[in-house]
């Protein structure tokens, strides 16, 4: 069929479905426009969450339905909207246009490109608000989502479909953990990469640009989508940003894909919602947050899911980020999100200042469901690590009171120091699981007891290179995820003894 014939056929199809029917419109009149909220009379048939359009071209969404008025929050500054302007319903609920073209792109919460590249073609409109899948459609978390960070993969493992909170003060590396996790999703030979969505809420444009640049540099942008709602955007867009990110994730979930979504950060999201609620004159509660602040985050995070095989088997793993003030995790929003999520990674400033990076506090960090998703290979080495770290923490506090220690205690303390040292890891340097297992195996089996602490980092790095060169079969085996056999352990021990001869 020629191009002309195709066009004519399309026109004919349009003609067959074309009906001349009277159009009924529901309109309203603007009464007030203050602080990004418009009160309009009329619009008697409008529904909650519906998009409305003003005669000035501005758009907004209905968030309050009163007896005589509706309150509309604007997507733009709305400076041109005046009293008496007409506003009409669009009949559409809040939704975002999603297609595969979004991969590698930066969009705003309305799905409009922000990276100066081509327009995104219309494909499927996904609703921003959706009821989370029910228990029948779900299955327990059973597949690991590897972060490439030793401390997390070994001690606080994350599974696909889990909600793991990253919490800590500003500047402690919360975003760095999320970015490392995204970077680690590349290089999966033969496997589909996990699609990563990074939702930036209320952040500085420069920070967002840095994240995008880093992802591009590390080759992780091709399977990532950035939903950007910087602090310069109206509070409305900041409020809908995580829901837009989740709607995009659900599009890929319907296709049976695995998705990782990072909400950076939900503290600012709560601030945006507080602002909207106050200008909408909703009653303020604790810390001036509205009464439904818990539901705001619970309905979002409940959409993280691991679907069973009958429903496509896809998953959405959520990594919400919360910023605390002075390490206070008992504040209002942190406690809310801690209770919603399946665990938290707690970053502490003391550890950060002491040079422990990532500054994860192993004692207060927990993963409630990820343990069942850990591979047998990792489980075999991580169990011992947890025990040793717990003993070390107890003894380290106790040893401060006395100067004389028995040899057994001194040995445990030395081992603990080495364990803490081996858990240190540079930024943007996620490791494959095989190398993580190798490092942890080294320390838990005492192979590093005779190495000075200051040389541990270089020992680890060079040993990885040595194994890659001389014993690649060990790494191939560890990648499978099975518990290492006697033969593999012997080969690992042999490799260590050979490496120690050449290591200076």
């Amino acid at each position: 069929m020629t191009e002309a014939e195709e066009i004519i056929k399309k026109l004919e199809q349009n003609l067959s479905s074309f009906e001349i029917s009277p159009k009924v419109q529901n309109i309203g009149t603007v009464e007030t426009n203050t602080d990004g909220v418009v009160r309009a009379s009329g619009l008697s048939q409008a529904v909650m969450g519906e998009i409305v359009e003003f005669e000035t071209g501005d758009r907004g969404v209905i968030l309050n339905l009163d007896q005589d008025f509706v309150s509309i929050i604007l997507f733009s500054k709305g400076e041109k909207i005046k009293e008496g302007n007409k506003v009409k319903r669009t009949g559409n609920l809040l939704s975002v246009n999603v297609s595969e073209e979004l991969l590698g792109r930066v969009v705003n919460p309305l799905g409009e490109p922000q990276d100066g590249k081509s327009k995104i073609k219309k494909n499927k409109l996904m609703p921003l608000e959706k009821i989370a899948p029910g228990v029948i459609e779900r299955e327990p978390v059973n597949t690991p989502l590897k972060t490439g960070i030793k401390a997390i993969d070994a001690l606080i493992p994350i599974g696909r479909g889990q909600r793991e909170l990253i919490i800590g003060d500003r500047g402690l590396g919360k975003t760095a953990i999320a970015i490392d996790t995204i970077i680690n999703q590349r290089n999966k030979t033969g496997k589909k990469p996990v699609i990563c969505i990074y939702v930036a809420i209320g952040q500085k444009q420069s920070n967002i640009a840095r994240v995008i640049g880093k992802l591009e540099e590390e080759g992780a942008l091709s399977f990532s989508i950035i939903v950007s709602a910087p602090s310069s955007f109206p509070a409305t867009l900041q409020y809908i940003a995580p829901y837009a990110g989740c709607a995009i994730a659900e599009y890929f979930l319907e296709k049976g894909e695995d998705i990782l979504i990072v909400y950076d950060d939900l503290t600012k999201h709560a601030w945006a919602y507080r602002q909207l609620s106050l200008v909408l004159r909703r009653p303020a509660g604790r810390e001036a947050y509205p009464g439904d602040i818990f539901y705001l985050h619970s309905r979002l995070l409940e959409r993280a899911v691991k679907l069973n095989g009958d429903n496509g088997g896809g998953s959405i793993t959520a990594l919400p980020i919360i910023e605390t003030q002075a390490n206070d995790i008992s504040a209002y929003i942190p406690t809310n999100v801690i209770s919603i999520t399946d665990g938290q990674i707690f970053l502490q400033s003391d550890l950060f200042n002491a040079g422990q990076r990532p500054a994860i506090n192993i004692g207060t960090s927990v993963s409630r469901v990820g343990g069942s998703a850990q591979t047998q290979a990792m489980k075999s080495v991580a169990g011992k690590l947890k025990l040793e770290l717990a003993q070390y923490r107890e003894l380290a506090a106790f040893s401060q009171f006395g100067s004389e220690l028995d040899p057994e205690t001194a040995k445990l303390l030395e081992r603990g120091k080495r364990t803490s040292e081996i858990l240190k890891q540079g930024q943007y340097n996620p490791l494959p699981e095989s190398l993580e297992i190798l490092s942890i195996w080294l320390v838990t089996n005492g192979h590093l007891d005779d190495t000075p602490i200051e040389k541990l980092q270089s020992f680890e790095r060079e040993f990885h290179e040595f194994v890659k060169r001389s014993e690649p079969k060990i790494l191939d085996f560890l990648l499978i995820g099975e518990k290492p056999s006697e033969e593999i352990i012997k080969r690992m021990e042999k490799a260590v003894s050979e490496f120690k001869k050449i290591f200076k």
């Binding site: 066009i7 399309k10 026109l11 349009n14 074309f18 001349i20 009277p22 159009k23 009924v24 419109q25 529901n26 309109i27 309203g28 009379s41 009329g42 619009l43 008697s44 048939q45 005589d68």
Partner: protein, 118 residues
């Protein structure tokens, strides 16, 4: 005075479906500035609710009588007002408070433009 009482005052301002000036003057004298403001607002809204605007493309007196009779049957309690708008090209547009019924040629053309897929 609460909202319901003001609404009641607005209803009392009408005699046989028409706004009674004497009643309005009497009511306005007993109200404070704030309440008078509210009263005017409610009065405007009441008027808007009870008004049916019919927009036509050409004002032909015979046609107007015909249309008025027709719509008086459909909206017996409404005060029908006619407006002329040549941009409609043909047909009529009815504005009933916050609802617009578009039966004009312009409306059809607008719909065609909005629904074009090519």
């Amino acid at each position: 005075m609460n909202r319901k009482q003001i609404e009641k005052l607005v209803c009392l301002s009408y005699t046989k479906g028409r706004l009674d000036e004497v009643k309005v003057q009497k009511i306005s004298r007993i109200l404070s500035k704030r309440l008078l403001k509210e009263y005017i607002k409610f009065l405007k809204r009441y008027e808007q609710k009870n008004k049916l605007i019919i927009v036509i493309s050409q004002s032909d007196p015979k046609e107007i009588i015909k249309i008025r009779k027709h719509y008086e049957k459909i909206f017996p309690k409404k005060n029908i007002v006619f407006q002329e708008d040549k941009t409609l090209i043909g047909g009529i547009k009815i504005i009933d408070n916050d609802k617009i019924y578009e039966f004009s040629l312009k409306g059809i053309f607008d719909e065609l433009i909005n629904n074009q897929t090519l």
